[in-house]
């Protein structure tokens, strides 16, 4: 049984509370550190992205044979060239702006990322990608281990989750992660005004500083309140951010606008978590229907990422920013009877940013339904070619300036050289 968050708090919160000092002190640290130079934005497509519908091997006849309804015709894909094995590839037709970024050399697509014996469970799969530990996907995340290696005390705004919960990827033993889905909502309210409201905030801050070692559960809850008090005023600066481009008015676009605001304002965050869902396309994926669900997903992805890219480019901050995209698994090669695809194995990753060496990495699988080494599960699934940990390692070593071997518990420095 996988250890859950509960076990984690039980074992780890005593150390966790040490990371919290007086909020004013932490604010000073953040100020002293100044605007962080490099940002990592982790983008999670939740549900298990069907890589074959994102990056299409449009000359592979097996692709059309196994997906009579879902295969995207060659005439519709956005051609981006061929991989090193000569497989012609095209982006989903709704990713026109991502092709622009690709053509600018700032987007890398990495085919067949995964790991041996891929889990087909959403939850176990997500835990494996989050911990970077397929054999024991428990406890802290791979970026949580990065945070734990920073010299204490670590500013509680070092990592910023744009969803409510702390994703396991960022879960650390000694560092708290700010979760800020909406800057406007991230403010302290009070039933009264003026001096009374100030007294209330002082009192609430004192109550939150109560972190009894014999009550780790209360210490944990209070540490989240402490982190809120330590970050409120800086986050408020992001509310007034005026982007240079219009972001799509959906959750994903608005989250990226907030991240761009935080990067521009230099609030001290170096790791952001953004996610967008709906990728569990068992039914009605409908890649060839105008309003099909997969097209909607791709439109959302394309619009948000392109606005973010242009905004940062305009602000002169693109070269400081790296977007790393993943999903918990890929999907079955053959479509099912519901115009969808079931849980599969390897998928694809994308990396975008000013420091990226754009291009196509890895090779497409041979989709032939006869026994062949690029497939697994009786030729139903795509076998991984690039271990996802080697992608993480490249980011840790070449972008974060960290030590991937220590964080990943092994040498994965043989991965694609996209940065």
């Amino acid at each position: 049984m996988a250890m859950n968050r509960r076990d984690f708090v039980r074992g780890g919160v005593a150390a966790f509370t040490v990371g919290f000092a007086a909020p004013s002190f932490l604010t000073d640290i953040a100020r002293a550190q100044g605007r962080s130079r490099r940002n990592l934005v982790v983008l999670y497509l939740s549900g298990g992205n069907d890589g074959l519908s994102t990056l299409v091997p449009y000359r592979d006849q097996q692709y059309f044979a196994r997906r009579p309804n879902l295969a995207i015709p060659a005439s519709n894909v956005l051609q981006i060239g061929s991989d090193s094995a000569g497989n012609a590839l095209g982006l989903n037709p709704r990713l026109a702006d991502l092709r622009t970024i690709f053509n600018a050399g700032r987007l890398a697509v990495i085919q067949r990322t995964g790991y041996p014996n891929s889990s087909r469970s959403h939850f176990q799969g997500t835990d494996i990608w989050s911990t970077a530990d397929p054999s024991a996907p428990q406890g802290v995340g791979w970026l949580g281990r990065y945070l734990d290696r920073m010299p204490a005390p670590v500013d509680p705004l070092t990592a910023w989750s744009t969803v409510r919960e702390t994703p396991r990827t960022l879960l650390a033993r000694t560092v708290g992660v700010a979760s800020i889905p909406s800057v406007a909502e991230y403010a302290f309210a009070s039933p009264n005004t003026g001096a009374d409201a100030q007294a209330a905030r002082q009192s609430a801050t004192r109550i939150a500083s109560h972190v009894p070692v014999d009550q780790p559960h209360l210490a944990f809850v209070n540490s989240t309140a402490q982190a809120a008090f330590a970050t409120l005023d800086r986050v408020a600066q992001v509310a007034s951010y005026a982007p240079t481009v219009a972001y799509p008015n959906n959750g994903f676009g608005q989250a990226l606008q907030m991240v761009a605001g935080a990067i521009t304002r230099g609030v001290g965050t170096s790791i952001y978590w953004v996610q967008t869902g709906g990728y569990d396309t068992h039914a009605g994926q409908n890649t060839n229907v105008a309003n099909g669900s997969y097209n909607t997903l791709m439109t959302t992805l394309n619009g948000g990422l392109f606005a973010f890219y242009r905004d940062l480019l305009n602000q002169g901050l693109l070269s400081d920013t790296l977007v790393l995209q993943f999903s918990e698994f890929g999907r079955r090669i053959s479509e099912n009877g519901s115009n969808g695809t079931d849980h599969g194995a390897a998928s694809m990753m994308m990396v975008m940013g000013g420091g990226v060496r754009g291009g196509i990495y890895g090779t497409a699988p041979n989709l032939s339904a006869n026994g062949n080494p690029t497939l697994e599960n009786s030729n139903q699934d795509i076998r991984f070619e690039t271990d996802f940990r080697s992608v993480y390692a490249r980011v840790l070593d070449n972008w974060m300036g960290s030590d991937s071997s220590a964080i990943l518990g092994g040498d994965f420095r043989n991965g694609p050289n996209f940065i």
């Binding site: 039980r10 939850f123 009070s190």
Partner: protein
Amino acid sequence: MRFGREQEIDHLYRRAGFGASQEEVEAYTSLSFASYAASVARLLNYSEIPDDVDSFIGRPGYVGVTGRSGSGFQPANNILDARQRWLFRMVHTKRPLQEKMALFWHNHFATAYSKINGEIGDGGFATRMLAAKPDEEASRTKGQIELFREHALGNFRTLLIEVAKDPAMLVWLDGRTNVRARPQENFARELMELFTLGVGRFEETDVYAGARVFTGWNLSLANRNTAQARYEFFYNTAQHDTTAKEFSFPIYADGRRTIPARSAGEGIQDGIDLIDAVARHPDTGPRLARKLYAYFLNEVDAPDESFIDALARTYYSSGYEIAPMVRMLLLSPQFKDPSSYYKRYSWPVEFVVRSLKEVGWNGFSVNSALSPLINMGQQLFEPPDVNGWELGPGWFSSGGMLARMNFAALLATNQRFNLRDQSRGNVDSPESLVSYMLDRLTPPEFAGDAYSALLDYARAGGAWTGSDTQLAAKSSGLAHLIAGSGDYQLV
């Protein structure tokens, strides 16, 4: 501080319900429920209490709901109103354990409105499939939540069968598209991984076989294009895979692992056989026992394994009944031990409902709690995925905690005059006001500097006069600080 009997009742009602209002504490501690065992029996035997809570919606003296302009309040057809009605029920029900279990099953069989609405479109189908009561509108749809209420403390095997045929589930996990030529794995996988055995307790081949078992468990639309239109479970004989299905675990009590080939007409029995097997499976009882233990008793300390074993044995020996497990939990010495108090992390709806019951509701509409609940991370009828919500510490983050603090501020602001009126005459100093508010809100003991912080707040801004202005400001300010504290989030 409350002591003894009152504290025990507070604890019981925070766990087996959503907390107790002042009136309820007085009623529950009165002679008519003299013993603790009698209180537990009353909670469990709720079928003896009329289920009339919905008839009080809109009445004075109850928490408010807010209808939409034009269409009014339509809990069977509008998901926002369905959320309001459920919150109303949690606040005012006289059958709190039934609502508490309905919430448990809603998380266990987590089904979200947005996918259903996206898949089958407008016309209110999605809200009805989740939340309608069969007697309240023309289609006579029985919503999924009514299923959870009906079987709240019932038989788990029966509930599994009902869930497998539930129209909302058939859309949510795509069973409606599970056909012979192309089996759809979604439901079969989650039946084993999330609803019964648990992850890692079965093989991929079991998923493939399970998908074939449920081929033909589809949906039909009755009374199409009329006001009576309703989606119904439909066993489609033409779409059932009639061949044998082999599993890695025993399907039958005698150890056989293969569901035999059956004619299409009799093939619905395949699904019943598989549900029997997963209900009987040795991993299901302990897994349910752990979930119920964490839900009712303690999710901080590791459970006593012999107690989990005993709960699981009760599950099997009773023929998969839930009531005996919950009775065993509530009557256990572990439950009553004060070391179990405040050892659960409240879910956002638990926090909201308890705050309403303890701070007050007169003049507040549960509609005002809907957006704050989104910020706290729990929208009813909208779990994030089929795994349900991330419970325990998973509810807490800086943003989530701030949302709780801010709901406390919203409610305290709304209740400032009620709080003023109710504290007037009961308090004559900052100290007594702090005591009054702590007693009213039932948090764990505020010790040391946390208590001093409350008192300093009560004293700030000038000498104590006990004026109405001062009482309104400080009672609402303290309600905010207490309900918004980390301590209060523990139940």
